[in-house]
Point group: C2
Chain length 311, copies 2
């Protein structure tokens, strides 16, 4: 009995020592243990020409570290060509299962007949996550996710990460598990926003974060700021940033004819919003705040290298 | 013998009398027998937002009489909604079997697996009529034409005519016959440009014009005019216009970010070209010339009413 007890004590201390000595993500990336790391991420690449134009400008001027591409959208080929020819930028796939605009729609990358429950009567994705959730099933979600990844690969993209348009995957823990399974299979990290998922279900977060690097704190605007104060919520997030892995998601586009026509009747995440986001990430105010608060910019490619060192 | 001869003479004069008394198209439309009739037609509706915006403006300001929609293109839903809600405008289907731009592509309206010979490796139509002609076959062309018409109908469009993007249908007389067969079936007139087809094959024109109203003279710019003289070739066509049914085809779009991005590397039929065409059809110079030369504007809906009075 005493022997067994001693063994347990020894084993427990070995575990603790291991856990204290093990490098955390920051250290694995060459920073201090308590470093504040940040990914600045543009969603919706490929949605439109005005999006592609804004995101490529933001990459070239250092306003963002990362972005992800909507494979089913009309301007996918243009941005795929950019991604293929500019592998210095950190570009993933924004898996898309919803189509939310009034005049401009996207359907599946799989043949329509193979995903009937993901498409509305006209052959497009449903406009809301609620409608998607009501109709979808895991087999079709898996088929479409795989089709989007395979199409991105066929166009020469080497995706650094997988994330998801409008959070439709969160409609079911089964879909999230599916996505993680696929991520492991392709050895591509998947966005897991820890604080957002913990708010839905702690056991879900525990399940998702097993074997996966998570984003500790994700920040995204959910309402427009008053005129002239667009950057304030972002600046507050930066000032209060916690150690660990953080991500800011922005929605960039040029506020031009095309963008206004797509986003008609959508003031939230609309044309002005996206131009404001672009102006903000390009501003010196933003860049200076990142320096002042000693924030280390990182990319999904770096996360992938830690998560899949064998790749 | 004499009786037979007399019979022939009598029959021949009866035929001549019938042919002289029969109303020609102009008369059926309420004009003088020798009236100069003109359709001013905008191609490529639905191609892009900048196209939709230009063509709807041209309709609203009376710069064109007619236009036709590319069903497989990204901005089809927006223009379909416009067509459905503005039945006073004369709108047909611009059957599309080619995809000619560098960064912006369209695939089939039919399931890709059912038209493998119309699509390239990436799943889009071939960029040129030559490549289309090399791969296509009549069964798949028929399937795709029917799919585009059915999709237009499903979106609430009541097409007044059928025409064809880049003249791909002219790649084979079989395809043209097919198109006419489908036109008769739906009771929708098909564009038959008589002088253009006669230049290829007189027997083909004879075959096509049996039971169909033809456009006697079609005019379309085939090269850019010098700066400041954009309208000259159009004005020359108007000044020399012949009696019968004439059609001018224009290519309209706003010369904006989106249009320039689509038409990059394509000065011919590019962004400046399309803005010039828009400016021309809206100009008072154009409208005055039409009046001065006593030209009667007509629509495909009027042609359809003559060709299919029972519809």
């Amino acid at each position: 009995m005493r022997v067994l007890f001693t063994c347990i004590i020894l084993f427990a201390s070995a575990c603790m020592a291991h856990s204290q000595n093990e490098k955390n993500l920051a250290e694995k990336l060459g920073f201090d243990r308590n470093a504040k790391m940040l990914i600045i991420h543009a969603d919706d690449m490929g949605l439109s020409q005005g999006t592609n134009s804004a995101v490529t400008e933001a990459f070239q001027k250092g306003g963002i570290t990362s972005g992800s591409i909507m494979v089913p959208c009309p301007w996918f080929p243009e941005i795929a060509e950019f991604a293929k020819n500019n592998t210095q930028y950190d570009i993933g796939i924004h898996l898309t299962l919803t189509s939310e605009w009034d005049n401009y729609f996207f359907g599946g990358t799989s043949p329509a007949a193979s995903i009937p429950n993901l498409l509305n009567q006209k052959g497009y994705f449903y406009p809301s996550v609620e409608e998607f959730a009501r109709h979808a099933n895991a087999a079709e979600v898996e088929k479409e996710i795989r089709a989007q990844i395979e199409r991105a690969l066929a166009f020469g993209i080497k995706p650094t990460h997988l994330d998801n348009h409008m959070g439709s995957i969160l409609a079911s823990p089964d879909y999230y598990q599916l996505l993680l399974k696929i991520g492991h299979e392709y050895k591509i990290p998947v966005l897991i926003p820890a604080d957002m998922i913990a708010a839905i279900s702690k056991p879900l977060l525990d399940m998702l974060s097993r074997d996966n690097i998570v984003i500790n704190h994700l920040f995204m605007l959910n309402q427009a700021s008053p005129n002239g104060k667009w950057g304030e919520p972002y600046m507050k997030f930066i000032e209060n940033m916690q150690p660990g892995l953080n991500q800011i998601i922005v929605h960039l586009a040029k506020n031009n004819d095309e963008t206004r026509a797509i986003m008609v009747n959508h003031p939230d995440f609309g044309a002005e919003w996206r131009q404001n986001d672009l102006d903000f990430v390009l501003s010196s105010e933003f860049k200076e705040a990142l320096k002042k608060h000693n924030i280390h910019l990182v990319t999904w490619r770096q996360i992938g290298a830690v998560q899949y060192p064998e790749k």
